[in-house]
Symmetry: C2
Subunit: 403 residues, 2 copies
């Protein structure tokens, strides 16, 4: 088929616009001629695409890029910090958080609104989310920047095509259509909180640029973000990272999911606290985890033994992951991050014992760099990445919001 | 940096040559003008790159592509079945196999040379491999085609950078440098047999075009090939797929690796045969597995119970994989393929019970389409793909073998 139809030309422009922006993001300061050389596109094509990216504030032209004295053509192209921002939202069990992420990855206007969302009707929670989103948009307005898209982190199974939350047991949700509830003004991306926490870790902090790791995060439940080749895997349906339901003992106790010996049931925060004899009436877990950390610091034998048992179980599950995927690092997030100093020993021993290639590829046991902010920041990053991966669609949407 | 250096120009040509060939592979029959439109490259650039691909027999020009009457420019470009072939080698515990794979994926000259390689000095085995390779090259010569590269499948842990076999316990190998032993004439890619079996399944048969699955294959050991987004994952070091050492019972018996309750120790072929009371003195396992299949067909209670227990254990390990990666299918290969009809039931029940998203994403339990040929065919495919992914390097190597 010869691409003479407008659809064909528009596909080519979409592809080439993305290619040009990707080149600028990869090598900030590149000139238009440099982009042409790197992409193989004609210089005139590159110039017209760059003009559109500059007009949409996705790219800035900085000072002279080289001393060639050829004026604008010689200026350097850089991602614009005042371009469209990603708006991150996290629907936690006991809070709603928001933040803005600019095209250079900077985080702004981080806000956490406490409130128990368990058992509350989803419509009520989503109304609160809508208020938080409006407030974050107003923040963006005051900063004179556009919001280009929404990312929403939830503690549950999310269908990656529709964005529907199939199940979020700790919220009591099933089949909640978040994109429909948040309106059609902006694109809405919904994903599991551990996946988005991994997106956040990937984009900033000590793990930035790390190509392969598994983040295992304990909130009320236990989830993982699987990062391979610098990207978080979402799987065929969007249901990756359910490490909380990996079996660590087929004769173990029955989990809320109905199966025996799941990691979450045997080494999740509730199990650790119960095993250590620390009372945890309900969420939030901050206070009982702080209590547990205090007992650990005071060398309380029951607390130390409970966390050691949890470390072994976490090690059994993570050794399976490392045997399967050959990742060089596991990262502890959420409640596990707070217990890292006591978990890392027994966990590391189990990895050494069970990873068949351990002598050639020791596994690092790291701690989350972003802490409690990881999921909401990752949600903003994910929304931003959707724009940066397909800038032409963003530009056309801004030019003609009805389209 | 302005790309004025020859290195810069050569990088661009390398990139563009690969892009042009990828387009022809993706849409066979495309014209030169069609390639230009699809890639955004100038028509003159495309024509010169296509000329080089045709000269190297990587691409053929077929009859008129359309009725535009513009002669050669209108002919269709297709991958050439007489272009450079990939030479696949499988070093099995009790055989060495070879085959040739042409650029359209066709398999030729499949040969299996029986011989017990266990405990034999690696140099002796590699001398036999070298003889098999020379014989396969002679086959290629008689067919009038070039061999572009070697792929070698081994039952062990392979360092993906150096191609050194770190450990192949069932061969008794450690630190065996296959690329050095097979000479410098051709590029040599070495990988684990389960990984290459997955490459083979991906390229042909019923699973061709399937984007995501995990192949779990039982030979003497148990290994997996993890396929995500249509590519076999090799991991950071090359050590992926070691599902045989995923823990299915922390209180289980001690495995040869030193850990307790590994899948291979509890549900590998040797364990199943022992549990069923079938005598298996040594490899090859063909005869005892045929004996077991006979007993299963005759509804022997001990055999049925043993395979059911193995199915449950395989289900525990694979439910963990599906929970983590959200793949829609698991594929049974090697000895497991022969037992598929009896394993699939208990395995499927365990997946239903343990996969947290099972109600929205049932997991198919499939059987390998290629059977015993999968690894050697995949080895040839992998060698071929290296050429197709970087045709410029192949073309330069053929033009100047000393470079």
């Amino acid at each position: 088929m010869r691409p003479t139809s407008p659809a064909g030309n528009s596909d080519v422009r979409r592809h080439n616009t993305a290619m040009v922006l990707a080149e600028v993001l990869r090598r900030p300061g590149l000139s238009r001629a440099g982009v042409a050389a790197a992409t193989g596109l004609a210089k005139a094509t590159v110039s017209s695409l760059v003009d559109r990216l500059v007009a949409a504030r996705l790219v800035d032209e900085s000072g002279p890029q080289s001393a060639t004295g050829r004026g604008r053509r010689g200026t350097g192209l850089v991602p614009s910090p005042t371009g469209p921002h990603g708006l991150g939202v996290e629907i936690g069990v006991d809070y709603v958080a928001t933040c803005l992420v600019d095209p250079t990855g900077g985080e702004h206007a981080h806000r956490v609104r406490p409130g128990d969302n368990r058992g509350r009707p989803p419509a009520e929670v989503l109304a609160a989310v809508n208020r938080a989103v409006r407030s974050a948009k107003a923040d963006a307005g005051r900063r004179g920047v556009a919001v280009g898209g929404l990312g929403v982190a939830v503690p549950g199974l999310v269908d990656r095509v529709s964005g529907v939350v199939r199940a979020a047991p700790n919220l009591g949700w099933s089949d909640v259509d978040i994109p429909a509830a948040l309106g059609a003004e902006l694109p809405v991306l919904v994903d599991n909180e551990a996946n988005l926490a991994a997106v956040g870790e990937l984009a900033t902090g000590e793990l930035a640029g790390t190509r392969d790791f598994v983040l295992v995060s304990a909130e009320i439940g236990v989830g993982a973000g699987v990062v391979l080749d610098g990207a978080v895997r979402r799987g065929t349906h969007g249901f990756t990272g359910e490490i909380g339901h990996v079996c660590v003992d087929p004769d173990g106790p029955v989990c809320s999911c109905g199966a025996r010996g799941c990691l979450e049931r045997m080494a999740g925060p509730a199990a650790i606290l119960a095993d250590a004899g620390v009372t945890a009436a309900s969420a939030p877990l901050d206070r009982p985890l702080a209590d547990l950390a205090g007992r650990l610091a005071a060398a309380d034998p029951a607390a130390l033994a409970a966390v050691r048992r949890a470390g072994v179980r976490l090690g059994i599950a993570l050794a399976g992951v490392v045997n399967l995927l050959d990742v060089p690092a596991v990262v502890l997030g959420g409640g596990y991050a707070r217990l890292h100093d006591w978990l890392a020993g027994p966990l590391g021993e189990e990895l050494d014992r069970r990873v068949i290639a351990a002598q050639w590829s020791p596994t690092a046991v790291l701690v989350s760099a972003l802490g409690g902010k990881a999921a909401v920041y990752g949600a903003g990053q994910a929304a931003l990445r959707e724009i940066l991966a397909d800038p032409d669609t963003y530009i056309r949407r801004v030019a003609d919001p009805a389209s």
